[in-house]
Symmetry: C2
């Protein structure tokens, strides 16, 4: 046992605080203390103190009516500071409007974090539907971009992606890891299908995905696949251009 695994390394208090944030992130907006204590297998006072500290930092909030706990706005502020300096976004940004115009659909930039796909940037098409899910975060393997990124990631990333559901075998992984582009129609039929291409940095690592919506198209049909290939060509050009401005690792 090289790692001497106590959960995993790092300061216990930080680990516990982070675990709470992750519990708060799943399921409904607000959670009750008792429940969080049980799910985290920490004692109730400990959870209470941790939550109070997180609330003080605005990383969590406590609903004054029910005194239940949820995630806090400071996460958004920090996230925006992170994204504002993310090389991937800076590199893609100049091309996004053009790609949007070329493909005539909403374009997304996606990254893979802990088995989930996060939509970190977007340019809306003219005909964006009013049913916008602006802040989707989906299990990686349920989206085209997520499949590309998870399959090209390391074992840990792939494992986390599988753990989020959307079953996949090793054959799928090999196919996705080598594909230049991928189209997928989500099981939720209210969401549009999407085509995605990976964005590779100078070292050849997939740092994100560039995806376009395919409203009213089913990539399982021949004409759908033709449309997807056509759109993918535009995406690939932008992804390659952006990739050239990205340094190593």
């Amino acid at each position: 046992m090289a790692t001497n695994d106590p959960g995993r390394g790092g300061l216990g208090t930080v680990r516990n605080a982070v675990q709470l944030l992750e519990l708060l992130a799943e399921g409904p907006a607000y959670h009750q203390l008792t429940d969080l204590a049980e799910r985290s297998s920490m004692s109730i006072p400990t959870v209470h103190r941790l939550l109070r500290s997180l609330v003080l930092a605005d990383l969590a909030v406590q609903d004054p009516a029910t005194s239940r706990y949820g995630l806090g706005p400071e996460l958004s502020r920090l996230s925006h500071h992170y994204l504002a300096r993310l090389p991937l976004l800076g590199a893609l940004s100049p091309y996004l409007s053009q790609v949007r115009d070329q493909v005539g659909a909403t374009v997304h930039v996606e990254v893979l974090v802990r088995g989930e796909v996060v939509y970190v940037d977007r340019v809306d098409s003219v005909a964006s539907s009013p049913f916008r899910e602006s802040h989707r975060v989906l299990p990686a393997l349920t989206t085209a971009g997520g499949r590309l990124l998870a399959a090209r990631g390391d074992e840990e990333a792939w494992g986390l992606a599988c753990a989020r559901g959307g079953d996949a075998d090793d054959a799928s992984r090999r196919a996705w890891a080598t594909a230049d582009w991928l189209a997928h129609r989500p099981a939720d039929l209210t969401l549009p299908a999407e085509v995605a291409v990976p964005v590779l940095d100078a070292a050849g690592a997939a740092v994100g995905a560039l995806a376009a919506e395919l409203p009213g198209t089913d990539p399982a049909t021949p004409e759908g696949e033709a449309r997807a290939a056509e759109v993918a060509a535009y995406l690939e050009r932008a992804a390659r251009a952006a990739g050239r401005t990205l340094g190593h690792g």
Copy 2:
């Protein structure tokens, strides 16, 4: 000393970890350990351990080349989970595309967090410029929306906003707190001017702002102000409609 102020309440380790995240959020993308230790007035080993814990949780990253530290992608994942369930966004979402079409410009949803304005949602106009700053986070008092929100906030929020710069006196505050809408052209002339209206919940508290860009318009001129008032009318209608679906507090 009612508060017995040791910095402020909460668990010390969490407070320190959060302080590091805030230091990482300001200035350049990557910071060095020594510098962070000095700025936080914590010992170097302590900062090192905290950062290692944060890196383990993906809340921070360590650049493998320079071994310097920056914010991590998990912040985005958590932030998206937060935003996905934010009542403000759900309430405004159905109206945003329509407002975009009515005003013919990019529309933003903004919230105030710790003295900074965070752009939490956006619908792009057809003619969105390629120089998109998608993930701005600006000192509150340098934007129209931030001024509205800070002025209507409590003392603490107002104080934090002033601390971020963009000087303001009490007269300005009173004017902004009662204004139905506000237009402002940022000092950075590459950014467009914006008009903003507050979004009030059932209790009358300002939970966010709805703003539209005014490209090529200077609200300081008579015709600019007329245009701003016209746009504001559309924004107000959407903000009121959304506000009705927002509960108390």
